[in-house]
Symmetry: C2
Subunit: 277 residues, 2 copies
DNA sequence: TCAAAAGTGTTTACGGTACACCCATGC
DNA sequence: GCATGGGTGTACCGTAAACACTTTTGA
């Protein structure tokens, strides 16, 4: 048996949205379109030194990793683009290569708390948003011991992200322009990006990348940065305004070259600074 | 810190579907509406005997469990309804109570293979569909040792499900009419049900609960069984016919009381019998 | 020939897209 | 006053919902 089976890929192009969303169980609405699981990456890793009998003897290690997204201005255009922090590996395997922040599951933390701790340790920041991505458990993800990684993805505010720590071994990269990473982390980032884009298209997510108050144009820029294309400003603002959890303030953003745009506030799930202690 | 933080719940009622699906990375279309993660259940379990220092000393155990769905005729109406098999626990904790089939992660299996093995062991069946559901890792899911469960969900054909093994310690239950189960398994099943309903609304999933050939009315019955409401037959058939991966055969289902309906075939992802060996 | 399900057609309503247009501000 | 982004109005089009209607079979 191998990881790469076709089960669970769930293709299907017809949307069948006609099956209208009804009362949903878990206080949420039914989506109208599929969110397929990624096909688990066929990891092209060197099989490494450990032989099979050794491998069979050990229990698989359990690790938590986190894909952290934040908005930063592009060096070229200055427009906001998606970035994520990576850490340089300081031991084998993959020594010297860049990898997702992570580590073994600490005993006192829930999975989510462990992920939040990753985030604090590497960036010094607290997540606005944190959600489980997927559990990766292929047999040969790591050349030596078998590792099962439960991966989370997170978003941090752009205002804070600008002040995030960087060092010799922690550096921010443009998402989408990554070269190869350690382990199967490149595939994991790609999957996280795909999931981010998905969530994006049905709202309420972009705000976690922004500050407390923002202009509608800034929200649009987030969408354009993540989706990688332009969006009609007129229609976009209409859609936002009729969307829930958006509230106009009386303030306007001053200092621009032209008419000062109104500032808005997100009133949905609270901007908590960390998982409530 | 506690598991039950608000992060990652991602409410948001506005659909914002206006952000049109563009070219999607992983060969799939972007969905238009949100698929939120379940809030992890606040498990009301007895904390059990082990004290904290003991708990800290042990590594968390890693387990695989599987929620298996199949269609079976209701005893009352005879119409197809959703069922799932559970196993009776034969040791502490929760001895005598019903639980999801599962067990520790066997060394030689990938996560998905381990889930498929669960399925074969308890039902004797092979899954038509198998997908990762979520990794549950709350601190007190099990009273003694800490357990992290990676849960899969599966669907098996109704025709085969009718012949599935049952025994003293393996029994099928109607999904949605479950009483309390061992551990946090009730919440897990509810989440799986919610996810099934989601996938349902954007097609291609219902077929995995049916046989190779089926009438459009049977597909409609699956939708009605899963969604728990009636669906307009006229509009439903139109939507199905313009959906991809559905092919009319030249055959008709004989033996009914009235006009024999045409049989159709699903031409999407193959009906493989097991993860390809 | 009648009941019931299979299958088709038609109307209406809603929401997204495109794009023309007005408004307010800094220079 | 004019360029530019903020913000509004509107016409068009595709699709889903509702439901009337025809067709085909068994009893």
């Amino acid at each position: 048996m191998q990881q790469q089976s076709r089960l669970g890929s769930s293709v299907g192009s017809g949307t069948l949205a006609g099956i209208a969303p009804a009362a949903a169980p878990l206080e949420v609405q039914l989506p109208e379109v599929q969110l397929p699981e990624v096909r688990l990456p066929a990891v092209p890793l060197p099989v490494g030194a450990a032989n099979v009998s050794e491998r069979l003897a050990q229990a698989p290690a359990l690790a938590i990793s986190t894909v952290i997204f934040a908005l930063r201005p592009s060096e070229s255009s200055g427009r906001p683009t998606l970035w994520l922090p990576l850490v340089r590996r300081i031991r084998e395997p993959f020594i010297g290569q860049w990898a997702l922040p992570g580590g073994p599951l600490t005993q006192a933390d829930s999975l989510q708390d462990a992920a939040a701790r990753n985030l604090a340790d590497t960036t010094g920041l607290a997540p606005n948003y944190l959600e489980q991505l997927y559990a990766f458990g292929g047999l040969h993800r790591s050349p030596s011991q078998r590792v099962v990684s439960i991966v989370y993805w997170a978003m941090v505010q752009s205002t804070e992200a600008a002040m995030a720590r960087e060092s010799e071994n922690v550096k921010w990269f443009r998402a989408g322009e990554l070269t190869e990473l350690a382990f199967d982390h490149k595939q994991i980032v790609d999957y996280a990006l795909w999931r981010l884009r998905n969530k994006m298209t049905y709202g309420s997510i972009a705000y976690y990348l922004l500050g407390e108050k923002f202009t509608l144009a800034q929200v649009r820029e987030v969408y354009e940065a993540v989706l990688g294309r332009t969006v009609d400003p007129a229609n976009f603002r209409r859609q936002l305004k009729q969307a829930a959890h958006i509230e106009a303030t009386d303030e306007y953003l001053q200092g621009g070259k032209h008419r000062p745009p109104r500032l808005y506030r997100y009133t949905g799930d609270t901007f908590s600074d960390s998982p409530s202690p």
